[in-house]
Symmetry: C2
Subunit: 250 residues, 2 copies
DNA sequence: AAAATAGTGTCTATGAGACACTATAGT
DNA sequence: ACTATAGTGTCTCATAGACACTATTTT
């Protein structure tokens, strides 16, 4: 029995040594990251201007090809580091887009990720001719999934490839997870008021929420922890600052 | 202005003609399908026995490499047709698994799909030495996401690659979508009783459900349509048969 | 004092769970 | 008649929304 197993392993070892990786055609694989943030009641996405063909001059999600020995998430984090100078942010796989004609160069399959950050971590990024924090205009309040309109100061941007679809799916995912996953706090500073949290939810969901029940739901969820501190210099009674608590059990 | 745009297009055209697809390393890309079904209060997955290295003799999800001009979903449907003789079934992208060492041959990234079918469409499949409908033993009732135990007649099967993880994620996705998406009926025959539907939900979720509120929820959801027919020869009052109605709105 | 938002207490409407009861098939 | 499940009606409890009211800060 032991001998048999050993023989098998030798078989497999020999097979692997002789394996021809080109036995099947290989594809170019990239990652593209929808880096989302929120400010002033608007959702924004970080875009870079393409300075090379194809779609030269148009705007696209930050992305890059996946290295042969690089995991998908590592590739996405590398892209965030190189193009947006960000590390340690929330990042999750979104969907893999693989229509054969989605890239005019050659077959390029892209594994889309989405990332969430507080506005303060993006505000200092140099934007202008080569990068932009574009405002998202999402079709309608409920579901989306389709492409999204993208503007800067009200002017529409041309979005390259199928990246407008990718951003649309990112918004849809964010909306879907907001209510049952501790995901919203990724878009807020470390300490925040309940009103800020509610306004964030309203921005993401695209609809007004009831103040009373929102408060109750959030405080009962056990995800929030009062800090004892209060906001300052606000021209009215200051609200308590809360912090998200990462619970081990559910 | 028109001239400028034309020049641009010529530029881009020339660029594309000269593009070297090997400028970046390419990867092998496969699809793997978790084909799930349900019978007798158990969830089952369709597995095939590998007759080639690596993992020869072990069991894996039906899968295949993606052709250069083939969309991902087309590849998944091809796999279902070739390995399970199925067409026109529910199929949805699940997740892309891309750990560099997940395949001992070479870097193989796999786009996982999951498919759902009524048991009657799988019962006639020849299983035995080369294919099996394995019973799934899911860790615990709530969430999963980790690997899943797979048995046939109580005997555990060796599952190749990271396919046990893939099946685990498929179950998790199915559980998550069951309550808010018209997805459960994919696992039932065309006409079914409310009790059958409830037992399906109990099987998938791994927990008992309240009969009264389950009835109410389902009937109020607008997803069900009474057929006027009743089940026959059941040794007790026969239940009405329902059909799922595909709504355009919502 | 006025303005503005924070935060509390309570009433009401809605949906889930529990339970009792009636209905209808096969045996 | 007996058994087993289908299906209905009603009560209770938990939660969301609505609304009134009090609290606390800056100007």
């Amino acid at each position: 029995m032991a001998a048999k197993r050993t023989k098998r392993n030798q078989d497999e070892h020999r097979f692997l040594e002789q394996y021809d990786a080109d036995a099947f055609e290989r594809l170019s694989v990239s990652v593209d990251v929808s880096l989302l943030t929120q400010v002033g009641g608007e959702l924004r996405v970080f875009l870079v201007r393409r300075d090379e063909h194809p779609f030269r001059g148009q705007w696209s999600l930050p992305g890059g090809f996946v290295g042969v020995d690089e995991s998908l998430e590592a590739a996405a984090r590398r892209v965030l580091r190189d193009k947006a100078a960000l590390e340690g942010v929330f990042l999750e796989q979104l969907f893999t887009f693989g229509q054969p004609d989605r890239d005019p160069r050659t077959r390029v399959l892209t594994v889309a990720y989405y990332a969430l950050v507080d506005w303060s971590r993006l505000a200092e990024l140099p934007t202008g001719s080569d990068a932009a924090l574009a405002t998202l205009h999402v079709p309608f309040a409920g579901e989306t999934g389709g492409p999204v309109d993208v503007t800067v100061d009200g002017e529409p941007l041309l979005v390259a490839f199928d990246h407008a679809d990718i951003v649309g799916m990112a918004i849809k995912r964010l909306r879907g997870k907001l209510d049952y996953a501790p995901i919203g706090f990724q878009l807020l500073p470390e300490r925040f008021t309940l009103l800020q949290l509610q306004q964030l939810h309203e921005t993401v969901l695209g609809q007004q929420l009831n103040k009373d029940s929102f408060r109750r739901r959030m405080l009962q969820s056990g995800m929030l922890e009062a800090t004892g501190e209060r906001e300052k210099a606000v021209g009215h009674r200051p609200a308590e600052l809360y912090r998200f608590v990462h619970r081990s059990a559910i």
